[in-house]
Structures are given as C-alpha cells and as structure tokens.
Amino acid sequence: MSGLEDLYREIILDHYRNPRNQGELETPPAVMAEGFNPLCGDEVTVHIHVEDGVIVDMKFGGHGCSISLASASMMTTVTTGKSLSEAKDIIYSFKQMMSIHEGRLEEGSEETDSPMAGLGDLQALQGVVKFPVRIKCATLGWNTLEQCFEELASQ
C-alpha cells in the first residue's frame, strides 16, 4: 500500500474520527479567522481566546479531509495553554517539518536536533511530506491560527 501507512498514522486517524476542540468560541472575547484551500474548496475556522498572552482556549470548525481535520485537531491540543510566543515557535517548527524535502526525511528524522524535535505527536504528520498535494491540507489550520494572531495584533 505505497506509503499509505506513512500518511494515515493511527494517531491521525484517531484525531480524524474523534476531533478534539471542535466548535466555536464567543467573539469577543475570542478572535476568529477563516482559512480556505482554493484547490479543494475546504474551509476551516479557528477561534482562540487569549488572556495575558496565553492561549486559554481554542476551537476549530469547518470541513475538510482527514489530514486537514486531524492536523487542526492536533494543533489545538498542542497549542492550547501555551503562551503566544511558545505557540509561534511550535507553528514555526511544524512548518519547517512540512517543508522538509522527502529525501532528508528518510535520513535524519529521528535526530534530536532536527526541527521536529519537541513536536511530540505532531511528528506523526511528517509522512504528509511524501504526498505533496496534501501538504496544503495539513497546513490549512495552522495558517488560520496565524491569521488569528494577526487579528489579535491588529486589535
């Protein structure tokens, strides 16, 4: 099954079947952003509630494929409770992982100094890199979270 198990890791399927933190938050106090993948028409919404520079609550919604839903769900679990700057670091590392060339992935994925170190469960998403059309699915929620930060900054 040509790398399918790399793409659909068990933990990804688990988040897809049982998404965490699905829904909305009241705005204000929360802020909201909408992301859109023009290739497939998928849409995602992200709501975050930030108090004293810490993300105290986050919800996501919309519709998409298993990869985009699971990735958004995992994103909410790892970034909720983090400070804005910690969350930005995680986003940065995640995007680094998504832009790693497939070849480098095979060689050095387990090294502790790789950009994936510290991403925990999110590392399960690294197999997406082998399926370039799906990278946009995996990053949709993350880009939308960044839009929330911009929204916050502009307030």
Partner: protein, 410 residues
C-alpha cells in the same frame, strides 16, 4: 474494425504501466485521455521527417509540413461533419476557443444589458469569459437551472431567453455526465435571434458529432481529451460569422498586409491563427481523428453506454446508500462520467486510497464551482470512462472503494 477492448487497450502504451506490480486502472479520461501508439508515432515522425515552419517556405519540406497541417484540418472537419474546412480554427485548447468567441464576437456584438445564457453545470472555461464580458461590457450572465437528477430544467425557457444574444452550453457535462438537448436549445436560441455555442469538450471525444444535427453556431473542443496531444484545441464556427468577426490575436500568419499605418487580415481560418501554430500537435490531432474513426464513434458510444450502465448498476448494488452518484441515471441522457460521494469520507481521502490500489480518479471541484455549490458539496470523486475501459476497471474501482470504506471505518 470490430470493437474489442482487450485488443484496443494494447494500442495505448501507458495503459500497460504497472503500479506496485498491479496494472494501472485509468479512470480520469474526462481530465485527459491516454494516447494511442499511432498518435505518438505520427508526432515523432513529423519531427523526424517533415518539420519546417508552415505557410512560409517555398521549399518542398515546408510545403510538406503545410500539407500535413492542412490535411489534419480536413480530417477534423469531416470528423464533425463540417463541409468547409476553413471553418476549423486551431487554438490551444477548448478554453482558448471559448475565449476567442467571447473576445472577438462578444466584444463586438454584445452591449450593456445583453444576456448570455449558460447552464448551472458549466465548466469554468464556459463561465469566466462571460463574467469577464460582464465586467468589461456590462452584459448579464443568466443561468439555466437543473432538475434534481441533474438535467436542464427548461420549464421556464421562454422567460430565460428574454434578452438573450448567446446560449452557451455544454454538449456533455464533465461532472454529471448530463447530455442536454442541444438541438432544441439551438433552435430556441435562433427563434429569439440569438446564437448558440456548444462546449463540446466532453462530447466530441465520446460520440459521433454531426454539426447539422446539433444546429449550433460555434463548437469548441480540445484535442487532449480525444486521444490527441495537449496544446491543441478547435473552434468551429459558421463561416459567415467567422468572416464578420474581428481577429483575436495579432501577429504573423493572420495578416494579408501590414504597413506603418495598419494591417488587413487574412481569410479564415488563418485570420484567427496568429503566429506559428502548434504544427506537430495539429498533425497529432489528425492522427487521433484517424484512430477514433478506425474504431468508429458509434462503437465508442455504444461501448461507453453499456459500460456506464454496468458501472451504475455495480456501484449501486455493492454500495447502496453509502455511495451517492450525482447526475442522471438514464444512460440515454448521460455520458460515462461518475461523480461520487462515498459515505462521509472526503474525496481527497477516497482518491488517495484508490491511488494506493492503482486506481486513478479525480477529486475536487472539477472546475465547476457553481455546480458544486448547487450540489451542496465542496468536492466529489470523479471516475470517467473511455473507449479503453472495461468491466474489470469498474470492478477494480468498486473493490478499491470497498477498501476505502474499511480503511476509514472506526
């Protein structure tokens, strides 16, 4: 030539490609068809033996290249039963053909408030050029609604036709398969003094085409969906219309004379073929026409009808309500395009699992976003059949769908 798919499959080298040791199952011919060996050979020998620029050299080689290109025009012309090959204009693809009509005929004939009537299932290529005219000239784009089963709802046709200058519809849908009553629409258009354009991208490759039967004024289609190469499309138009229309692109080939003050245009078809044409692609399209004619378009149509019935039946027997197939059930009004939604598995995920079984289908909006909105989906999984597909391909699709269900079930 009698019709035998297992023999015919061997004409297409790519279909013998294997994926993980299994034969590749190609079910995406609505996006582009595979190419028979003969077409590949003709393109190859064109470059090896007769390549030269056309219409310009007095040497024999250049004459041969010109003859090869103009013979291809004759072939395409007789393939759609046009009796005047100067009515065949070579373009880059169907998209350019429709843009040519919008820019040349539309810009010079349509004014604010004029209406272009399209249907709700059109490809973006038959929507956006009209939206552009709405922006530049203030025309109105009006939509023929669809019935529940994806047929054109023409109950209000008289009202829809009010103020219409052009009816622009698909000959066959690339999403639902629907084959609308083009003749009736062309007649209705003419009755109110309008013209009729048919986007025949999914029509000409799959059934005998007879312009007199269709009754339209413009016909657009694309070479790569009919066993020909990419980069070559066709616009057929009535000669009196083409003659009255201004040139689309300017440059070499399309002129009779150029001075510092201005230019005069060449006669049709060359008036609309500015610059060096895609000669090898044109010659390749001629070979594709030869190939399809040797198989027989009646045979292609019969085969696809039988196979589409088999597919509709097999899929509904095996999946029942788990699988929604959009579009009409009746194969007399639909082609072999099956747009599906499987349980609540996202089309991307379905096509990913199908791919792991060597089955190539398309997932997405198929360049028909207004239709997607109407169907209330973001995307569908689309399997499309052609002359080289058979029941084993449909069975492989069904098996792979079943595996998809198992993969995503909790």
């Amino acid at each position: 030539m009698s019709f035998n798919v297992s023999v015919l499959k061997k004409d297409f080298p790519l279909l013998s490609r294997e994926e993980n040791g299994e034969p590749l199952i190609y079910l995406d011919s609505a996006a582009t068809s595979q190419k028979p060996q003969k077409v590949l050979d003709v393109i190859d020998s064109y470059y090896r033996e007769i390549n030269a620029n056309v219409h310009r050299g007095a040497y024999r080689l250049a004459e041969q290249a010109t003859t090869a290109m103009e013979e291809a025009r004759e072939k395409v012309s007789s393939f759609i039963k046009s009796d005047r090959s100067e009515e065949i204009i070579f373009t880059k693809n169907a998209t350019e053909s429709m843009n040519l009509v919008a820019r040349s005929w539309g810009e010079s004939n349509l004014n604010e408030g004029d209406v272009v009537l399209v249907s709700s299932l059109e490809h973006h290529a038959n929507i956006v050029p009209w939206h552009q005219l709405a922006e530049s000239r203030g025309i109105e784009v009006r939509w023929i609604p669809l019935t529940e089963s994806g047929l054109f709802d023409l109950t209000d046709l008289d009202r829809l036709l009010d103020g219409v200058k052009l009816v622009a519809v698909s000959g066959a849908s690339n999403v639902l398969g629907t084959v609308p009553p083009v003749r009736m629409l062309a007649d209705a258009a003419h009755n109110v003094g309008a013209l009729c354009l048919v986007d025949a991208s999914q029509y000409v490759p799959h059934r005998p085409t007879d312009l007199a039967e269709l009754g339209c004024d413009f016909l657009a289609f694309t070479g790569h969906k009919m066993c020909g190469p990419t980069g070559i499309g066709v616009l057929w138009g009535r000669s009196e219309l083409l003659e009255s229309m201004p040139a689309f692109l300017g440059g070499g080939e399309m002129i009779l004379d150029v001075t510092k003050e201005g230019f005069t245009t060449n006669t049709i078809p060359w008036k609309f073929e500015a610059g060096t044409p895609p000669i090898a692609e044109i010659v390749g399209l001629g070979a594709a026409v030869d190939y399809l004619e040797s198989v027989g378009m009646e045979n292609v149509l019969d085969h696809e009808k039988t196979l589409t019935s088999y597919a509709l039946q097999t899929l509904s027997d095996r999946f029942g309500n788990d699988l929604i197939i959009h579009g009409p059930n009746d194969v007399s009004v639909r082609g072999g395009v099956l747009s599906m939604c499987y349980q609540d598995v996202h089309p991307h995920d379905v096509s990913q699992i199908l791919d792991s079984h060597g089955v190539c289908v398309r997932a997405g909006h198929h360049c028909a976003k207004p239709l997607m909105k109407l169907l209330d989906v973001n995307a569908t999984v689309r399997a499309s059949l052609y002359l080289y597909n058979d029941e084993s391909d449909v069975d492989a699709l069904a098996d792979a769908l079943e595996a998809t269900g198992q993969f995503f079930s909790p």
